[in-house]
Symmetry: C2
């Protein structure tokens, strides 16, 4: 296919497919170019290095749940149920990724380990969304006055078992939903005035 139709998004899709097929240790830019039927030079015009390409595909993977979560964060109404819905949507999204395609999930765990800056930026985005919900809860008098960003980080930390990929093996065990609800309840109670 002609190089002019080569968009960054198409390259990233092909990269994911190549990573899935060869694994993170073996996948190369040449494999990606071959999958697209273009020269590796064409790929390098969009992503200057193999590292840049791997970072971009990691970023895309992490971003996949952002839009859905932003929509939950932006809903109207009381902040408490919204916070619960946001945490449940995050857990569901991570669990889906881990359960639907465990090999690809393991691949992205390797890539995440290589791209800690990208992961940190993703976490900051997540905590920013939480912070917005906390601020609204305080403004509405539902939550006690607090420093919203640091409270948001505490909520992120306290719910790690339900979004940190290191716990993925536990996400299909019996009792995990009850455990999630118990932590959510404790956190929501902790926010009360």
């Amino acid at each position: 296919m002609p190089a002019e139709t080569l968009t960054p998004e198409r390259i990233l899709e092909a990269t994911e497919e190549v990573l899935r097929r060869y694994g993170p240790a073996k996948a190369t830019v040449v494999d990606v170019a071959r999958a697209l039927g273009v020269s590796h030079g064409s790929v390098y015009r969009h992503f200057g290095s193999k590292a840049a390409l791997r970072e971009a595909v990691t970023d895309r993977w992490l971003d996949q749940s952002h839009a859905e979560l932003s929509a939950v964060a932006a809903t109207e109404g009381p902040a408490g149920p919204r916070l619960h819905a946001w945490l449940a949507a995050l857990f569901a999204s991570k669990r889906r990724k881990a359960g639907d395609d465990p090999e690809l999930f393991a691949t992205y765990m390797v890539l995440a380990g290589e791209n800690s800056t990208t992961v940190d930026r993703h976490v900051e985005t997540m905590i920013g969304q939480l912070s917005g919900i906390v601020t609204e809860g305080v403004d509405r008098g539902e939550f006690a006055p607090c420093d919203a960003p640091s409270t948001a980080r505490a909520i992120w930390d306290a719910t790690g078992r339900f979004h940190d990929p290191g716990y993925a093996a536990e996400w299909s065990t019996p009792g995990i939903d009850a455990a999630f609800e118990a932590v959510c309840e404790l956190v929501l109670r902790g926010l009360r005035p």
Copy 2:
């Protein structure tokens, strides 16, 4: 040294030393026997198999902080500060183990992966101590009435970042103490009536 002085504790000490020296993949019962100057039959008289020996040494390692934590759990006075002190003592103990001897810590991470039943039992002991503090807090009217065991598990889960060895790399980062205090505060607020 004569076999009659061979106690389980001495075998476990030697096992830890052998694990430290050879790593979990290579350490054998013969190495342990050689370190003690006894036959491997003498070791097998106390621990029936290599797996049993590895399980016992894992158990010993996990138990090392139990006594200290039990003492904190058993102190008199308000349950809130006691819960905070218990969580701080747990974090300090894990952090000390990870920081003082990172190689041995990594070795025990491997052993813990092999002995999940032992680890589960350790976690149940920890949650049992937490549950006792929660019950006393409820009895004293400091904490809201609740199902103490499931609340204790929620506290355990919510504070995982500060005791789960998977997070050991974060325990020396700046801001970790503030993060710990923020989660503790959220949890303690969540227990209020």
